[in-house]
Symmetry: C2
DNA sequence: TTGTGACTTGTAGTCCGTG
DNA sequence: GCACGGACTACAAGTCACA
């Protein structure tokens, strides 16, 4: 049984790695706390839609594309 | 300039109307408070991903399809 | 049937550190 | 560079009376 928080965290990590940025540098670039961002990436947090939007924008992608990359959410 | 909370609320309403259910009946069917659901539909709440998942599941759709219906998020 | 203001409680989110 | 913890503050979750 899948967990949306973990799925989202993994997808974020996947896309962040593609940018070549560290958690810290990426978090800083979107004005987010590095420890909070790390806990989201590790599936520990129930993120709000406004903050998820911030991350998705920072990853230069769209909500559609972001979720298309998560098999479970199809 | 778009507002993700409002866009999401409108998309939820659009899909809920297709089910033919009232706010109250739909909210009840997914175990959510009627007034809370109403405030989400009206774009007043910064909903978390777990609650959004509950709604999306109740609407018998997927995250991908849900966001594909929001032009702004493409 | 739906919208909203007001409220309490739990947790999201911040900031300081550590190995 | 990352995972994790303690101690905070801000805000989402959840509920209600009333319109």
């Amino acid at each position: 049984m899948s967990n949306i928080k973990i799925e989202i965290g993994q997808r974020i990590k996947q896309l962040r790695l593609e940018t070549g940025l560290s958690q810290e540098k990426f978090a800083l670039s979107i004005g987010m706390d590095r420890t909070y961002f790390a806990s989201v990436e590790n599936g520990k947090r129930n993120i709000s839609i406004v903050n998820l939007e911030k991350i998705i924008n920072g990853l230069n992608t769209s909500f559609s594309n972001f979720f298309e990359g998560i098999p479970f959410t199809q």
